[in-house]
């Protein structure tokens, strides 16, 4: 490079993450993401209602492969996300600082996010032990109840904690074997899309996680009303939208998770988010030929 001429950077185009790829919004729309000082930071894709529907289709496909992966494999993949995130810690610290965090707070947030993923990597093969049971039924049957993933979960990521908040809502959904359509917090698009790049390089099956950026008020109602979405995490729902979203969710009897009390993503995560997106399946099987196996009451 010749002296005196400073190299012009190659800034990233922030796009959506759908079905394992990074498409622009089908609408062609973008919005300006601003840094802490209010200056131009980047253009992000302004996802449309059609993008939500495309993401749900991708998530249903992703759910098939992700929910069928072995628990050990799922744990390794979630751990791999932690590894990849750790490898991009300096990028993410810079992004958090650009968004307004102090450097120390940004480092703490990235560390905590890596730790949260590691924590959930260890959950995948213990859900049955904690949420399941063998059932001592008073009849000649072996009966057990085991947790299974609910399906496609629509996640509204919280504001105010661009990386740790996003990781804290996504990790339990993934660890339990669900697929997610995440609507990132609108001001945090750069962090969310960079985290999507981490996911894309972590062996997460295409579609198991989809990340949309844009207006929560525009996208969330579509997600809440979508017939192929099984559950909603309303952690990041604006207070004035929450009741409407819950009403929309009732049309197909969606499971709706609304956190109680004040949000503190630095606290121990507990079981609530894991429990929220698990179904319990009870299986009965007759025990042996000496019993009245298979017979009914008639």
């Amino acid at each position: 490079m010749s002296g005196g001429e400073s190299r012009l950077g190659v800034p990233k185009t922030y796009k959506l993450y759908v079905g394992g790829a990074f498409p622009r919004s089908e609408s062609g729309r973008t919005y300006v993401v601003r840094d802490a000082a209010g200056g131009f930071w980047a253009n992000a894709a302004l996802a449309s209602r059609k993008d939500v529907r495309d993401a749900v289709v991708a998530a249903r496909k992703g759910f098939r492969s992700w929910s069928r992966a072995t628990p050990y494999n799922r744990g390794q993949v979630v751990y791999r996300i932690a590894e990849m995130l750790d490898g991009r810690r300096s990028d993410l610290v810079e992004l958090l600082v650009t968004g307004g965090a102090t450097r120390a707070a940004a480092v703490t947030e990235v560390d905590a996010s890596v730790d949260r993923l590691v924590h959930h990597a260890g959950w995948t093969d213990k859900l049955g032990a904690v949420f399941g049971s063998t059932n001592p039924v008073s009849a000649p049957y072996f009966s057990y109840s085991a947790p299974e993933p609910t399906g496609v979960v629509g996640v509204l990521a919280p504001t105010g904690s661009p990386l740790l908040g996003l990781v804290s809502v996504l990790a339990p959904v993934l660890a339990t074997g669900n697929a997610a359509v995440v609507v990132a917090a609108q001001p945090d698009a750069c962090v969310a899309v960079t985290f999507a790049e981490v996911l894309a390089t972590s062996d997460v099956p295409a579609g198991a996680v989809n990340v949309l950026t844009g207006s929560v008020a525009e996208l969330a109602p579509v997600l809440a009303a979508h017939g192929d979405v099984d559950a909603l995490d309303l952690t990041g729902a604006p207070a004035d939208l929450r009741a409407d979203l819950e009403r929309a969710a009732s049309d197909t009897v969606k499971r709706v998770y609304v956190p109680r009390g004040t949000l503190d993503f630095t606290a121990e995560p507990g079981l609530g988010r894991l429990r929220a997106f698990l179904e319990t399946k009870t299986v009965w099987h007759p025990t042996g030929a000496l019993s009245m196996s298979g017979g009914g009451g008639y």
């Binding site: 409407d244 009732s250 179904e279 009870t282 299986v283 009914g296």
Partner: protein, 491 residues
């Protein structure tokens, strides 16, 4: 698939006639008039009296004083006082003692309750005597034992009760559904306002007597009476912390809709359209018994009924012939008769719904097989009905019929069986019939339903969680996960 026509005769019926063996209606000690149970006493409701009928005869059984929304206010206030002053501060061991006493009290009055349930609901005495009442007592006994062990449920060392639980239950298992709802709520330390269905309030009001006799403190359980408007007033009452509903998906959806944004906890146990899947290696005679249990137990008025039979093609004709022959032997009739297999339909409204759907199936091209067992002239009865030549898109395959009506489809491969079984917005139950253990387990994994029965059907136990996937609702009843529906995790 062509429906083989059979001439259903059995060795048993040839040359034999059934002698009726009726249980005595007097055992139920039915009173002329029943009152709601609020704050420990039976009090007049402020609504107009309503009649409850004996579905077996279509005659009036008793008059029931009806609650109003003002009575719901009174009941919720009583439950709140009992929660704050008595029940929530009480030790778990002490709460458990009350529940054990209720279980014993139910067992002591089992015969009376079995007859009463039979008269008010229309289901056969054999079912109320052998299933509904003993299982209700077992639910109280099981949950009594949890009351002092809440710290072992995986909800932290001392999980917190929620407060006042509003519970609305259906007419198909009135006493048993009350036990499913009340026992875990009380064991967890909540108090209850419960509303039985307007067509079947009596056994729950006798349960209230049992609870009063057990010394349960006033207000801990309150029973209000009435129809959907009273239920709506109850579940939407601002003084309620938890809502538990069992009933149709349409009403459950409405409850979820009306509670949106309130932060109130909800569990819903809703409708179903369970697949009962028979593979070609199944023990067919056993499968026939299981299919019969699956769809004709309680005349098919069961949310988890195996209402869609899926048969592998090579055995379809043989199985259907066996099934029709077996269904023909079922005695349809007087619920009080100990011989009766299939009793009455609970209400004329429900019978009309079943008849309408069967007619729709016929209109859509289904072949209709019906048992020729004579039914009583009075009362509301539907004979066992089997619909073949049905399309997966037809109403009888899509919609919950809630009656003794089975649809039959065929499949070739396990994948096709799974696809057909899961092709419904419901996800409550499914059955699998095969002698191959690995296939049974693989099917159990692939079916999106809350309860899977391998080589059996319609088995229930308080130790085993019950509840739905998808639009069959959320939350569980029974087992540790059933307790979780009435507790808040405390770390």
């Amino acid at each position: 698939m062509t429906a083989p026509t059979t001439t259903p005769t059995t060795a048993l019926s040839d040359g034999w006639t059934y002698a009726p063996a009726p249980e005595s209606a007097a055992v139920a000690a039915v009173k002329d008039r029943y009152l709601p149970f609020v704050d420990g006493t039976f009090v007049e409701g402020h609504g107009d009296d309503a009649e409850t009928f004996n579905p077996g005869t279509a005659e009036v059984l008793a008059t029931v004083s009806q609650s109003t929304s003002a009575d719901v206010d009174t009941a919720v206030a009583a439950a709140r006082r009992a929660y704050e002053d008595v029940w929530s501060p009480m030790s778990g061991a002490e709460r458990g003692r009350y529940l054990f006493r209720i279980a014993r009290g139910l067992a002591e009055r089992a015969r009376e309750l079995a007859v009463l349930e039979c008269l008010d609901n229309g289901k056969p005495i054999r079912e109320t005597r052998d299933f509904d009442v003993p299982t209700a007592a077992q639910h109280f006994f099981y949950h009594a034992g949890w009351a002092d062990k809440l710290g072992h449920l995986g909800l932290g060392p001392s999980p917190r009760s929620l407060g006042v639980a509003a519970q609305v239950i259906p007419w198909n298992f009135p006493l048993l559904m009350a036990a499913w709802k009340i026992a875990p709520a009380l064991a967890a330390g909540n108090t209850v306002v419960i509303k039985p269905a307007e067509t079947t309030p009596l056994s729950v009001l006798v349960l209230a007597e049992v609870m009063a006799d057990a010394g349960l403190p006033p207000g801990v359980v309150n029973v209000v009476t009435g129809a959907g408007d009273v239920g709506a007033a109850l579940v939407n009452h601002p003084g309620v912390d938890k809502v538990a509903f069992t009933g149709s998906t349409a009403v459950g959806r409405g409850i979820q809709h009306s509670l949106a944004g309130t932060g109130r906890r909800v569990t819903l146990e809703l409708g179903g359209k369970g697949a009962n899947i028979v593979f070609d290696d199944a023990a067919l005679d056993q499968a026939v018994e299981g299919i019969v249990t699956g769809i004709f137990f309680n005349a098919g008025q069961v949310c988890c009924a195996g209402s869609r039979l899926l048969v592998q093609e090579p055995v379809a004709e043989e199985l259907l012939a066996k099934l029709e022959a077996r269904a023909q032997t079922l005695r349809v009739g007087d619920p009080l008769d100990k011989n009766t297999d299939v009793g009455a339909i609970n209400s004329p409204r429900q019978k009309a719904k079943i008849d309408e759907l069967v007619a729709a199936g016929s209109g859509e091209g289904a072949h209709v097989w019906r048992s020729s067992c004579p039914v009583p002239e009075r009362g509301w009865y539907v004979s066992p009905t089997i619909l073949t030549d049905v399309a997966g898109s037809s109403r009888v395959v899509r919609e919950e019929i809630f009656g003794p009506v089975l649809t039959v489809e065929t499949f070739r491969t396990p994948d096709e069986a799974v696809a057909k079984a899961n092709n419904t917005p419901y996800g409550l139950s499914a059955g699998v019939w095969t002698e191959k253990g690995s296939r049974a387990m693989a099917m159990a994994g692939a079916l999106r339903a809350g309860v899977i029965w391998d080589n059996t059907f319609n088995r229930f136990d308080p130790a085993a969680a019950f509840g739905g996937f998808k639009e069959s609702g959320f939350g569980r009843e029974g087992g540790p996960s059933g307790m979780a529906a009435y507790l808040e995790e405390q770390s």
